[in-house]
């Protein structure tokens, strides 16, 4: 029995959400692959919608897998997304500021203006023959830009979980003998 396009879309939508929630589970791709097989097998008996519904919310299902580890795990992908968003926000602000400054220079009849940020000099020029932005870098500015990515990355990844112990692992297992 082949899977219809509609069933494939339902299954893959669920698995994408599940995969995102399970991102830092060891060998999570194998888990997702196995779940895909199980869903396809179950859909042959109860239909894809029911098979997916039986699994519950993808985040709750992922939590069930993660709780089986007995310890919290860092979420590196989430950290990378937070870092990229922060860098994107700063790039947007820098570009907006640059365009605004060059427009202002143009409205004032052209010229050059220098601005300093953490020791780094940025030169904006807008006149009849040139529209440009030049800058010098300092280590302070480099540290700032590195921190723009690193701090949200570490917070988003819950990096402190990497130092968590596995001591709690045994307590959730069914070893009551």
């Amino acid at each position: 029995m082949s899977t219809t396009l509609r069933d494939t879309l339902i299954r893959e939508r669920y698995l994408t959400r599940f995969s995102w929630a399970l991102q830092d589970f060891p060998k999570y791709k194998r888990v997702v692959r196995e779940l895909r097989t199980e869903l396809t097998a179950a859909s042959a008996e109860v239909g894809m919608r029911q098979a997916v519904a039986d699994l519950g919310h993808p985040r709750v299902l992922a939590e069930s897998y993660l709780s089986g580890l007995g310890r919290p795990v860092p979420r590196w992908t989430t950290g990378a997304v937070w870092g990229a968003l922060a860098v994107g926000a700063v790039v947007y602000l820098v570009v907006a500021y640059t365009i605004g400054t060059l427009d202002t220079l143009d409205q004032l009849g052209g010229g050059t203006v220098e601005r300093e940020f953490l020791g780094a000099t940025v030169v904006y020029t807008h006149d009849d023959g040139e529209i440009s932005t030049g800058f010098t870098l300092t280590w302070q500015a480099l540290v700032f830009y590195a921190a723009v990515f690193t701090v949200p990355f570490l917070l988003g990844a819950r990096v402190w979980r990497a130092w968590g112990t596995r001591s709690a692992q045994g307590s959730v297992r069914m070893t009551v003998a």
Binding site: E34, A41, L55
Partner: protein, 115 residues
Amino acid sequence: MDEPRDPQLLKGVLPMLVLALLTERESYGYELVTRLHDAGLDDLSAGTVYPVLNRLERDGQISSRLVASTAGPARKYYLPTGTGAEQLWSTARAWRQLAVTVDHLLARATTKESS
């Protein structure tokens, strides 16, 4: 009428029940869910069973093999390993001891309530 079951009550014994059913005969994930339903756990969702299978396999208590199916993709059949069999018996023994204690305590409480 059956009392609604607290999911937390089942959570702790589910690995034992999964091992017990797989000891009877090997099964793939969804089949195992239906067997649990047939055994009376009809409110159990597939999403509760798959993480348990994953954990038992990771802990070496069950092993798996792929079997071709005429009704879809190859299915992963699970079977207890030697470690899993030992775990099942030790857990079953602990469960029986616990059940005796719980029954005893509940009997005392219900006797007191009715008197």
